[in-house]
């Protein structure tokens, strides 16, 4: 679902006409053509299901209870899937994106949570999984998953975002998912890492905790002890159910607000140390090259960011009139304080409404009512977080960092709306 034409081919002329007629009757001619419209195309051919007729699904019993032991989305939503690149050299160290433009609210469904793996997705029997805690501790310990679940538990809603989301160089993506689909948000349940560390007893000189995954990359990142004793947690559940394999089943580290790969999945080992490991992933990768040849290391925080998801690239406004602009904002440094939206190519900005609850280091949904006059327009959003930090433009970022910087791109991404309602990336 990356091009307007991909959506349009699902929308028959009949259904488009019908939608426009109904939309005109209901909301004054305003509508955004998304997958929701296209998915109705087949049914739209059968006027027998429309008023004044009784639809066919009322004239026969539906599927019996138990036909889906684990529920899945409606077959009419089959196009709402992860955005998996089709042209990668390999798929073991790679990423797939959340279809942000097709989602509402702030919680990402587990099946659509973004993925980034460094050695594929391991299949781990939780009965044979162990967490080892050693190094500068009084009592090196080994925990089973049953052990981990005996600790006092807690739940928090946090976003996770891949460090490079997106890169600074062209070509830029067409949809919200292409651009920043490596961010998702969930309610995580687990145990405070501080409790687990206290169980082993930290020794003086403990400054870092090196976390290692049980995947084939044995993914390793070093976490500063201050974060480990603050809000870091070991999570075993996501949105109420056990972690998905792609998210680290049966156990993952969560360091809220820090770049995604530090949230080590399939966590099997915590090595308390005086120094960081200087692992491959925190030296040759996930460091930020500057134009002068230096590189920034240990750049943990994901800074404030936002994007309009509706209307956004790949969608189409089918008629002038009322449209709600809606999107998501987040900051690794805390709560979103404000989101500004511009509908005149950045000449002026209006304060958007934030959907409660606004949570620390969680996605925040913003909305702005808008009346599109049918003329070309450029719309964009700008997040401000509780530290007062303002999301920058791409030009402002490039002026400081240059385009060899790979990670931590939190630029404002404007969408261009053409006279025919087609929405495209204004930076592309």
């Amino acid at each position: 679902m990356t091009r307007p034409t991909d959506i349009d081919k699902n929308v028959t002329s009949t259904s488009r006409r019908r939608f426009l007629i109904e939309g005109g009757a209901l909301v004054g001619g305003a509508a955004v053509a998304t997958g929701f419209v296209g998915s109705k195309a087949s049914a739209a051919e059968n006027a027998g299901n429309l008023p004044p007729n009784v639809p066919q699904w009322m004239k026969t019993p539906g599927d019996p209870l138990g036909s889906q032991p684990y529920g899945t989305p409606s077959t009419f939503e089959k196009n709402v899937v992860k955005n998996i690149p089709k042209d990668l050299k390999q798929y073991l160290s790679a990423s797939g994106r959340t279809p942000l433009q097709d989602l509402d609210g702030i919680i990402t469904p587990n099946g659509l949570f973004y993925e980034r793996h460094h050695g594929g997705v391991p299949t781990i029997d939780p009965a044979q999984h162990r967490l080892m805690l050693h190094g500068l501790v009084d009592r090196p310990l080994i925990f089973t998953m049953d052990d981990i679940r005996r600790f006092p538990s807690e739940s928090h809603i946090y976003f996770l975002e891949c460090s490079g989301n997106p890169e600074y160089k062209k070509p830029y993506g067409k949809t919200a998912s292409d651009l920043v689909g490596l961010v998702s948000c969930a309610e995580w349940t687990g145990v405070s890492l501080k409790l687990v560390l206290q169980e082993a007893g930290l020794q003086p000189g403990a400054k870092w905790v090196v976390a290692e995954g049980a995947d084939s990359a044995a993914m390793t990142r070093s976490i500063p002890i201050e974060k480990c004793l603050d809000d870091a947690m070991l999570a075993y559940s996501q949105n109420g159910e056990r972690l998905r394999p792609q998210q680290g089943y049966p156990l993952r580290l969560l360091v809220p607000g820090f770049e995604g790969n530090m949230n080590v999945k399939w966590l099997r080992r915590l090595h308390v140390a005086a120094e960081p490991a200087y692992s491959r992933e925190e030296t040759s990768k996930y460091t930020d090259p500057m134009p002068d040849g230096t590189a920034r290391e240990f750049t943990f925080y994901m800074e404030a960011k936002s994007i309009i998801t509706r209307p956004s690239g790949g969608q189409r406004l089918t008629a002038p009139g009322f449209h709600e602009i809606s999107g998501i904002a987040w900051s690794g440094r805390g709560k979103v304080r404000r989101v500004d939206v511009s509908v005149d190519d950045g000449k002026s900005w209006q304060v958007a409404q934030l959907q409660e609850p606004v949570l620390t280091r969680a996605l925040t949904r913003f909305r702005l009512p808008w009346h599109w006059d049918g003329k070309p327009a450029v719309i964009q959003s700008r997040a401000v977080d509780e530290t007062g930090y303002v999301q920058p433009t791409l030009a402002e970022l490039l002026a400081v960092r240059g385009d060899n910087y790979v990670y931590h791109n939190n630029a404002i991404w404007p969408w261009r709306i053409a006279e025919d309602g087609e929405v495209t990336n204004a930076n592309a």
Binding site: H118, D292, A295, F298
Partner: protein, 187 residues
């Protein structure tokens, strides 16, 4: 953790009753002691300073043979890259518009090479190579980058003292480094 956690009274009594057991010093008494042998088997972390490098050694010439068998299919016959990362060259390019980041041009610590090869390579069979083979591969790749003589043998001591060219080019995180003036009207 917003508030101190209280250990239930009955549990605290249980801790007192078991006070002679090492694990009873733990607030919750959850988990069991990890033995030195268990830790040794799992702790494959090699520090940037070479700490925890294992015994063993390998030559550049043996590394060349192992590379041909295990690495060249993805990284190219001479480490020029393919499905896998480019490993060789690029020194002097990092401050240019087209930087080439390789082990030789970018990596700050040589022991990290041993750490990463042992834990994650080859991608189809990680942790399958002997320590001697990993030393040999490290030696060969460093040699391809002009950082080791072609007749050299590498072990824990000699790997730890290799100074990588880009070692001093890493800086801390200065962010927030970009300021948006937060204009609201007439922008």
């Amino acid at each position: 953790m917003p508030t101190p956690r209280l250990v239930p009274a009955a549990f605290a009594v249980a801790i007192l009753l078991c006070a002679t057991r090492a694990e009873a010093q733990s607030p919750y008494g959850i988990g069991r002691a990890a033995t030195p042998a268990e830790i040794a088997g799992w702790n494959i972390d090699v520090g940037g300073d070479g700490s925890n490098l294992p015994p063993g050694s390998g030559t550049v010439s043996h590394g060349s043979e192992v590379f041909d068998q295990q690495c060249a299919a993805c990284h190219g016959a001479k480490g020029e890259g393919g499905v896998g990362d480019r490993l060789v060259g690029g020194q002097g390019t990092l401050g240019t518009p087209k930087p080439v980041r390789t082990i030789g041009s970018y990596w700050p610590y040589a022991p990290t090479l041993f750490d990463y090869i042992r834990r994650a390579m080859p991608q189809n069979a990680p942790q399958s190579l002997s320590n001697d083979d990993v030393y040999a591969l490290s030696a060969y790749i460093l040699s391809l980058n002009g950082l080791l003589q072609a007749n050299a043998t590498l072990d824990a001591k000699s790997l730890a003292v290799i100074k990588m060219p880009n070692r001093n080019m890493f800086v801390g995180d200065p962010r927030p480094d970009v300021k948006n003036p937060e204009c609201m009207t007439g922008c």
